[in-house]
């Protein structure tokens, strides 16, 4: 059975915090509140990353998910005002719960049955990285350089695509105003 140690207490408190706030994302009825709980979930997952000795990924999680994607979602909520406070359920609410439970049950059963070839003890200590960030940098600019460049192209396309999708005649107003001044 699970023994009582500091690591276990921290693990169970962080994971229960994460899961409770993740469930709250689906259950609260205001979209702003569910966004708030989503940010809490991101922070909890970052805590789990720290427990897994992935310090850079934890910080990146905080920076990108909790700091940036949540801001994007905030902007989306504010730019669509009338349905913003409504976090209503679709007609597939009960099927959704059912699918979630069935999926979780099957996968948990699979994980508990399957014997993973995993490290423990001293071998695990060897993977306790002092400094992941240097190795990550070497891997990104060495072994995975093509994927890295492709990711930057993807980000550029996403940027241009998002701007060209949202752009409309209304937002051309300021530009036309400037052109008029030049004439």
């Amino acid at each position: 059975m699970i023994e009582f140690s500091t690591y276990n207490v921290i693990f169970f408190s962080i994971s229960s915090f994460t899961l409770i706030s993740a469930i709250s994302v689906g259950l609260v009825n205001s979209l702003m509140r569910s966004l708030f709980f989503l940010i809490l979930t991101f922070i909890g997952v970052a805590g789990l990353f720290i427990l897994l000795s992935a310090d850079f990924i934890a910080i990146a999680q905080l920076l990108i998910y909790a700091g940036s994607i949540s801001i994007l979602l905030l902007f989306a909520v504010m730019l669509t005002p009338e349905s913003s406070t409504n976090n209503g359920n679709s007609k597939y609410f009960l099927p959704g719960i059912l699918i979630g439970i069935i999926f979780t049950y099957l996968m948990v059963a699979l994980v508990t049955i399957f014997q993973f070839n995993q490290l423990s003890g001293i071998h695990l200590k060897k993977l306790d990285f002092d400094n992941t960030i240097a190795s990550i940098g070497e891997l990104l600019l060495g072994k995975y350089i093509i994927a890295f460049e492709l990711a930057s192209i993807l980000l550029l396309f996403a940027l241009i695509g998002a701007i060209s999708i949202v752009r409309s005649n209304e937002s051309d107003f300021l530009i036309s105003l400037n052109n008029k001044d030049k004439k």
């Binding site: 690591y7 994971s15 994460t18 993740a22 994302v25 689906g26 966004l35 989503l38 979930t41 991101f42 990353f49 897994l52 992935a54 990924i57 990146a60 998910y65 994607i69 994007l72 979602l73 902007f75 989306a76 909520v77 730019l79 669509t80 349905s83 976090n87 209503g88 359920n89 679709s90 597939y92 609410f93 099927p95 959704g96 699918i99 979630g100 999926f103 979780t104 996968m107 948990v108 070839n117 995993q118 060897k126 993977l127 990285f129 990550i136 070497e138 891997l139 990104l140 994927a147 990711a151 993807l154 980000l155 396309f157 996403a158 940027l159 695509g161 998002a162 701007i163 949202v166 409309s168």
Partner: protein, 106 residues
């Protein structure tokens, strides 16, 4: 001792909750939130495999899971930007962002 299975179970639970949010909500923004939850669950699984995995030739190869997560983060940021831009566009045309109301072509 906490082992790989515990992290995987947390990841699976998070994935299940994400599925439920994706399916059970009618607001597009909620669905995007559900997708973010799914991606977070995948990240957690990748990092825990990278932590507890075995049979890597060098130490830095054990960090391949971290690289996967970095690419997932990149794709998630791009995906969120595009999805929310589409969401704003749908709202501008139809004055609603409920997926049940956005059911006709044109």
């Amino acid at each position: 001792m906490i082992e790989l299975e515990y992290y995987l179970i947390v990841s699976i639970l998070l994935f299940g909750i994400g599925l439920f949010v994706c399916i059970g909500k009618k607001n597009i923004i909620s669905i995007v939130m559900g997708i973010e939850l799914l991606l977070n669950a995948v990240n957690l699984a990748a990092i825990s495999f990278s932590r507890y995995g075995s049979e890597f030739e060098s130490q830095s190869d054990a960090l391949s899971g971290h690289i996967f997560v970095i690419f997932i983060l990149t794709v998630a940021a791009a995906e969120a930007a595009i999805a929310l831009a589409l969401c704003v566009l749908v709202y501008r045309h139809l004055k609603t962002i409920n997926v049940s109301d956005v059911s006709e072509l044109g």
